[in-house]
Symmetry: C2
Subunit: 231 residues, 2 copies
DNA sequence: CGCGGCTTTGATGTTCATCAAGTAAAGTGG
DNA sequence: CCACTTTACTTGATGAACATCAAAGCCGCG
């Protein structure tokens, strides 16, 4: 973990408006001085399940996965998160240790605010407290909603769902470098690696997508959307 | 819905300490005067997915299920909740409408506090705000953790998990009146009614449990626990 | 250049959904 | 309170969806 080259303060952070907009100058300063920033590279584990929670984290750049490891040693990915998603709000106020792990899928710039400083601001600024409530609520809503959706689909629908998620929500492009392995897609949709691959290959054979190496292109959005709908 | 016969104020409520302990007398009064109470009977829908959220709800007595209906009209039960679980904290601060429905599994005494009154107290009492943060966090943690656990198990482990949940967490007894139908167990563990029944029958045949009509008795905790562990 | 992880395809078997059909229990209206 | 209807429960048979096991090619990396 190395320190970011372009440290900025919270006031000029592009994600400021998403959370810290209500803060007074002195509150900004309190958060900013309790803040460190560092870059992690693809594959690095940012937080490990079971570690004590000492800080509030968010991303300024990059992409991460939230995941839990089951008793057989298999990972289950809860969500993939980008800047603005406030990755560790989940359980930050209900547990003293992480209930899941966080790892980087790309080079990621993490902003780390000491929890005590955040708590102090929550205590004195009720608008900020409500904003945090809103954010916490949103992130868990999304995970629960996503699980609900996946549960209704079988494997083709699930894979299509993930491909559309990456294209539309993460990259906003038809063509992108796949940030996760086939195995990770499987961990995200609760299917085996083999069957995930088979499904992706079938989509390729059908001309819905194409890929070489790590770059994937979606050719037929409508068909993909239809597959997610019909299950 | 009829009004409870034994309306009490929040100060003397046995669940007070779980949430409202930090409130000053005037804050209690604000909450209490924005509060109504009513009894719903088994099967009644307390809130329907899509309805606007106007109030904070909690249970003083009874048992409810939180569930979502999928596009095929099938229900998926997210959780079963008892008094003290603060059933609608989920999404109360992130959405203007319910993202799930709430229905009573037993005769249930619901306490209803206008959201505006709760928000006012949150704004002026930061300890209370933090307590709400903690509760919100907990309820979503539990749902996510539960889904994670279920996902690792196959049907026997899932059914065993639910039976143990009811015996240990809800009733704290070996013998209890089953609050949910076989179909609802299926909706809770994402399995069909038929296979849920088959599994329960098998447990009966194996002497792990017994039941007649709606009353169920768990005879062999160890075996049941072992089944949840091995999947 | 060889080792380990990722990807791929095939063959086989298990788990579970679906369909069908019948019994039991619980509401409902006369 | 009884006939009627609906909902819950149950068992069996069949097939679909998916996991598992096996084997081989590929790629990046030390």
């Amino acid at each position: 973990m190395r320190v970011s080259n372009d440290i900025i303060n919270c006031k000029s952070c592009i994600y400021r408006f998403m959370l810290f907009n209500e803060l007074s100058d002195s509150e900004y300063e309190a958060v900013n001085s309790a803040r460190t920033e560092y870059i992690v590279k693809r594959g690095d584990v940012i937080r490990q399940e079971g570690q004590p929670i000492h800080s509030f984290l968010y991303l300024r750049k990059g992409l991460v996965k939230l995941y839990k490891t089951d008793k057989n040693g298999k990972d289950q990915i809860l969500s993939i998160n980008k800047p603005g998603d406030f990755i560790n709000l989940l359980s930050i106020f209900s547990n003293s240790t992480y209930k899941y792990s966080i790892a980087a899928l790309e080079e990621t710039l993490v902003c780390n605010v000491e929890l005590s400083a955040l708590l102090a601001v929550i205590r004195e600024n009720s608008d900020f407290a409500l904003k945090i409530l809103n954010r916490i609520s949103k992130i868990s809503d999304e995970i629960i909603e996503n699980r609900f959706e996946l549960n209704q689909k079988q494997i083709k629908g699930r894979v299509a769902h993930i491909l559309l998620f990456l294209a539309e929500k993460i990259y906003r492009k038809d063509t992108f470098r796949m940030p996760i392995t086939r195995r990770e897609i499987g961990e995200l949709i609760s299917m085996t690696t083999e069957n995930t691959i088979r499904t992706i290959s079938e989509f390729k054979k059908d001309g819905i997508i194409s890929f070489d190496a790590k770059t994937i292109t979606i050719h037929d959005y409508n068909r993909l959307k239809n597959i997610t709908k019909t299950g």
